[in-house]
């Protein structure tokens, strides 16, 4: 259990709100599709804040223009990785953006052990800090009681 006010990992657009229902997720997907974004489903069992590259559950769905199709991919990912973190990501290929424009978590492990902070004292009062994910003390694939 993490000790921040939400008790859980707060990455993404909506972590401070109650979990989005599938209908609510579909509305967000539709919003992105109307803007011309391509959706992607990504999952991980290492949610370190600087773990940029979660695993892709297939390529971004550039040609999928319908929220129901995107939801099918999400549900397939949930079925395969029920205890992983899963996030929806929207990509915008517009010149001068060409990056991610939406990102929110849609699946979490039952228990979120969070992170420890290691301090290494160096040079007088300076510190070197390392954020350590407790989950990664366990091998890949076994981290959230799978």
């Amino acid at each position: 259990m993490m000790t921040n006010p939400t008790g859980r990992l707060t990455q993404g657009q909506f972590s401070f709100l109650p979990d989005l229902t599938d209908a609510e997720i579909a509305l967000q997907i539709e919003y992105g599709l109307k803007k011309g974004y391509a959706w992607s489903v990504e999952y991980t069992d290492d949610p370190h804040p600087r773990n940029t590259y979660w695993e892709m559950f297939g390529n971004p769905m550039f040609d999928l223009k319908d929220a129901a199709g995107v939801m099918m991919e999400l549900n397939a990912c949930r079925k395969t990785f029920p205890n992983h973190y899963i996030r929806m990501m929207a990509f915008d290929s517009t010149r001068n953006t060409e990056s991610i424009t939406m990102s929110f978590i849609v699946n979490r492990p039952a228990k979120e052990p969070g992170f420890g902070l290691s301090r290494q004292e160096v040079k007088g009062r300076s510190m070197h800090y390392t954020v350590h994910s407790y989950a990664t003390d366990t091998p890949e694939g076994e981290r959230y009681g799978r």
Binding site: P5, Q13, S15, F16, R50, T52, T101, M127
Partner: protein, 495 residues
């Protein structure tokens, strides 16, 4: 003008540059006779264009005043000099090409002036500003002058490196997308020890903010040495990052008396692992460009606090509009820029403020008179600046803020976080919940301007800190008339 001596050679005709003998005879000519007024001038794509608002002294002809502005901001001196004839002086003369009365402002005129590409050193805002807002602003025949807007040609834009990071890459580094970022300025501004200061930073970040911020006048005063602040703040940042699993930051203000000292402070911030440093606008253009260089070399986001701008941006008859300052800062290079809130405690007409935001974030800024944008500006793929809304805003205004400014903005709730009745973490939670609820509702297609208060109230049902925030500040607004608004007529007036 101060009664220029018509040399006898001169007619009242406008431009006499075609006749070199007349033009360069010793004496004093009218500016418009010297080539600084060219109503038929054909603008080049490589010209810098400036729009000045001028208030000529009683009896001074507006066209002559406009020509004088062109002259005094380029090559002219008060008398004719024969040494002009050693040069390709036509290129160096700025050309006033249009003058119109300002709609609804008797005695004031808009004057458009074009500057050739050769006039400004590549990559130097200091050089450009020394011309454009140099002597001309103290020129006696004008009661007042204001640089309203500027069009910088692509050819000159490309000589600048712009923001060290840019808002797109900043989001990638922070792993935060699709919503405004949230910040707060550590308060009180003055008097906290480093240890107490870090406490505020920790509580705010753990509660849900993305950033905390040093205030503009926090440097290294007797109550808190800068190294102490950096050390405690970075402990707070890292602890909060571990507690939330998010990248967090606190703008470490490295503003100091010399460049050497600023570099020293910035290096220490980097050594401690900060993702961002901060400077104040008052350090000056060259120092800003130098710090941007440093940030580029050190993977650092650069936060710009616009301390001091109100001394020259606020009054509409004299000074430099903030939209011009914002354009120069985007060229000079900063990643965050305070650009106003419209709804908060500080000066700002909503449309005018939106104009500043457009200047920071557009790939191509279109002419938009209600927003004070008088020129098209092609940014030539220059990185975008993240605008910062800070000063007297609170969670109850979330729908207005998101409607006005969209997602690419840092919303800073200082008092609205730290002054929360249930504590700093609760204040941060209230702001983050209000933000996420409003973004979600907007994306779902709801009309947040109409339904905003209801959306917040609904979110407050599952979030007691938000309820407390709305109960405390829900009704507070700062409805004063803005001094700096755009003056334009729906149909352009005839000169």
């Amino acid at each position: 003008m101060n009664k220029p001596v018509d040399s006898g050679l001169v007619t009242e005709a406008t431009d006499i540059t075609a006749d070199a003998k007349k033009r360069y005879s010793a004496g004093v000519l009218k500016y418009r006779q010297m080539g600084y007024w060219q109503p038929d001038y054909v603008i080049k794509d490589t010209d810098t264009l400036c729009l000045f608002r001028i208030t000529p002294q009683e009896g001074v002809d507006p066209v002559e005043a406009a020509a004088a502005v062109a002259g005094e901001s380029s090559t002219a001196t008060w008398t004719v000099v024969w040494t002009d004839r050693l040069t390709a002086c036509d290129s160096y003369r700025a050309k006033a090409y249009k003058v119109e009365p300002v709609p609804g402002r008797p005695g004031e005129y808009f004057a458009w002036v074009a500057y050739d590409l050769i006039l400004f050193e590549e990559g130097s805002i200091a050089n450009m500003t020394a011309s454009l807002i140099g002597n001309v602003f103290s020129f006696k025949p004008l009661k007042a002058a204001r640089l309203e807007d500027i069009r910088i040609p692509v050819a000159y834009v490309k000589t600048f490196k712009g923001p060290p990071t840019g808002l797109i890459v900043e989001r990638e580094r922070l792993d935060k997308f699709g919503r405004p970022l949230l910040g707060a300025t550590t308060k009180p501004k003055l008097g906290l020890s480093g240890r107490n200061y870090g406490r505020v930073v920790y509580e705010g970040l753990k509660g849900g903010l993305d950033f905390m911020k040093d205030d503009e006048n926090i440097n290294s005063q007797p109550f808190m040495h800068w190294r102490d602040r950096f050390l405690y703040v970075m402990d707070a940042v890292n602890k909060a990052s571990a507690a939330t699993g998010e990248v967090k930051g606190s703008y470490l203000n490295v503003t100091a008396g010399t460049m050497e000292e600023m570099y020293r402070r910035a290096d220490f911030a980097k050594e401690l692992g900060s993702v961002i440093v901060m400077v104040d606008l008052v350090i000056g253009w060259t120092a800003i460009q130098s710090m941007a260089e440093w940030c580029r070399a050190n993977d650092m986001i650069m936060h710009m606090h616009r301390a001091g701008h109100g001394t020259y941006t606020r009054q509409k008859n004299h000074g430099v509009s903030f939209r011009v300052i914002a354009k120069w800062l985007r060229l000079a290079g900063c990643d965050h820029l305070h650009t106003g809130t419209a709804v908060g405690k500080l000066e700002g007409d909503p449309l005018t403020v939106q104009g500043y935001y457009n200047v920071c974030r557009d790939s191509y800024t279109k002419t938009d008179l209600p927003r004070g944008l008088y020129f098209d500006q092609d940014w030539a793929d220059l990185k975008k600046v993240m605008p910062v809304a800070s000063g007297g805003i609170h969670a109850g205004q979330m729908h207005q803020l998101i409607d006005l400014f969209g997602d690419d903005v840092v919303l800073q709730f200082g008092g609205g976080t730290i002054g929360h009745p249930q504590g700093i973490q609760a204040g941060a939670v209230a702001n983050r919940v209000a933000l996420e609820a409003m973004v979600k509702a907007r994306n779902e297609g709801r009309n947040i301007i109409e339904e905003g208060p209801a959306i917040l109230k609904k979110a407050a049902e599952f979030c007691s800190p938000l309820k407390a925030a709305l109960d405390t500040w829900g009704e507070i607004s700062f409805n004063y008339t803005s001094t700096d608004t755009s003056d334009y007529a729906v149909t352009p007036a005839v000169a």
